[in-house]
């Protein structure tokens, strides 16, 4: 379990439980999570594969800059999941190409 339940300095007030899907699988996170943090807490490290080399890509900069965590969210490609807040019912999918615009 990657969620921190007890911490000597910080208290994490968990928000409402949020249900979303990742590649069709139902997962849960909390309000206040980014998509990336919820996936990470659920043990998902690979968020896509580079479209040329096929190498796995995951969370890296956490500030929406590096483009390493691009995923398809609610059908829209190239979403930087490290900075997008998790919402109830989101459909999150692995992106293995450059993203289909049409």
């Amino acid at each position: 379990m990657l969620r921190i339940e007890e911490h000597p300095i910080l208290t994490f007030e968990k928000g409402k439980l949020v249900t979303f899907t990742f590649d069709g699988k139902e997962l849960q996170g909390y309000e206040g999570d980014t998509i990336a943090s919820a996936l990470h807490a659920a043990g998902v490290k690979v968020m896509g594969h580079h479209h040329v080399s096929g190498r796995p890509r995951g969370f890296y900069c956490a500030i929406g800059n590096c483009g390493s965590c691009l995923m398809i969210v609610n059908g829209e490609p190239n979403i930087r999941v490290c900075v997008v807040p998790l919402e109830e019912g989101m459909v999150v999918e692995t992106q293995n190409n450059r993203g289909d615009l049409l």
Partner: protein, 361 residues
């Protein structure tokens, strides 16, 4: 077009102090913060700060952020705060473009204080793009903001203050730290930080670097190797560590993209962490309307960033004619504080660096 006396880019320690100082002197301030909350790196700092009372010594970074934010909230007539607002461009006509939430906004400030901090340096090693390799900042965000552990067992690369502090935070979050390595022959961070991690059983291994990560879809381990006096790997000294996270903390670079765009004169000063803006003693750049504060003036501690922020805020407000009775004394106080913070052995390189980018004496 939104107009304001002073726009401040960055709601970290420098930006918060700048906003406070400028507004206290009567200037209207728009404070822009990329994140969803103010504080910048402060909110990830669960340790108590060094320095003196004026720089909130012995208060935890995360609490300093709250204190500074509350001060600004008391000045809501003059200070407007935008979170989730990333400065995108600083154009030749002085217009600052901002992505505020999902909105593109243009601001025409009379003065701008850039306090964007720093970005993390990275390392080249085999498989350095595997998931499970994170910058120290990302680990802190995940752990201290989202409350999620980055993994089970971490190799920390870099024994500067950030590497040491994040290692300590990992331990506090219940994550094992397999080792802290650093290519340098000695520990770069404060030794009191090193000692408190070492006594918790984490080995600190100097003169070592990481040469490869391995793992199929994500990190499963790392190879480290000893370095000789010339920083070259010593054959036969390779060791493999079973870790699922490699945390990179090999230094910071001043994040000065907006200043480059605006045409500020920059200079490469290794003591300050890279290319930094040329400035005068009031932290004004070579572009008259643009002031600077914090890590982008040169990589230092948050205590100095706060004082610089206050100084830039005072100076920018003063240049617009906003002057309280204590202005001169306040500016002098900032300069004295900076001098004092930089007077010890750890400040030597900062002073050497500053001497190379000062416009006035």
């Amino acid at each position: 077009m939104r107009e304001v006396d002073i726009a401040i880019v960055g709601g970290g320690p420098a930006g918060l102090m700048a906003a406070d100082a400028a507004a206290t002197n009567g200037a209207s301030v728009l404070l822009l913060e990329r994140d969803g909350h103010l504080g910048g790196q402060l909110v990830k700092q669960t340790h108590k700060f060094f320095g003196s009372e004026k720089q909130y010594a012995s208060v935890r970074g995360v609490k300093i952020a709250t204190i500074l934010e509350e001060k600004l909230q008391g000045m809501s007539d003059l200070v407007e705060i935008w979170t989730d607002a990333t400065a995108l461009g600083l154009y030749e006509d002085g217009v600052l473009t901002v992505e505020k939430g999902k909105e593109f906004v243009k601001i025409k400030p009379k003065r701008i204080i850039v306090a964007t901090g720093a970005s993390e340096k990275f390392l080249t090693f085999v498989n350095n793009d595997l998931p499970g390799i994170y910058g120290a900042g990302a680990v802190q965000t995940l752990m201290n903001v989202n409350g999620v552990r980055p993994g089970q067992r971490v190799l920390m690369v870099g024994a500067g203050n950030i590497g040491l502090i994040v290692s300590y935070q990992l331990l506090q979050a219940g994550v094992e730290v397999a080792a802290i390595i650093d290519a340098a022959p000695t520990i770069g961070g404060y030794l009191v930080h090193a000692s408190k991690i070492r006594r918790a059983g984490v080995p600190i291994i100097t003169s070592h670097t990481v040469t490869r990560a391995y793992g199929k879809e994500a990190v499963e381990g790392a190879t480290i190797v000893a370095l000789d006096e010339k920083w070259q790997p010593l054959p036969g000294t390779e060791q493999e560590l079973d870790v699922d996270v490699i945390c990179i903390s090999v230094g910071l670079s001043p994040l000065a993209e907006l200043l480059w765009q605006a045409g500020c004169e920059m200079r490469y000063v290794p003591q300050l962490g890279g290319h930094v803006p040329v400035r005068d003693h009031h932290l004004k750049t070579t572009v008259d309307e643009v002031y600077i504060a914090g890590d982008l003036t040169g990589i230092e501690e948050a205590s100095s960033a706060m004082v610089e922020g206050r100084l830039a805020g005072l100076a920018a407000a003063s240049s617009l004619g906003f002057k309280s009775d204590s202005l001169e004394a306040d500016i002098l106080d900032c300069k004295e504080q900076l001098k004092s913070l930089r007077s010890g052995p750890v400040g030597d390189h900062i002073n050497q660096g500053m001497a190379q980018v000062m416009l006035d004496k």
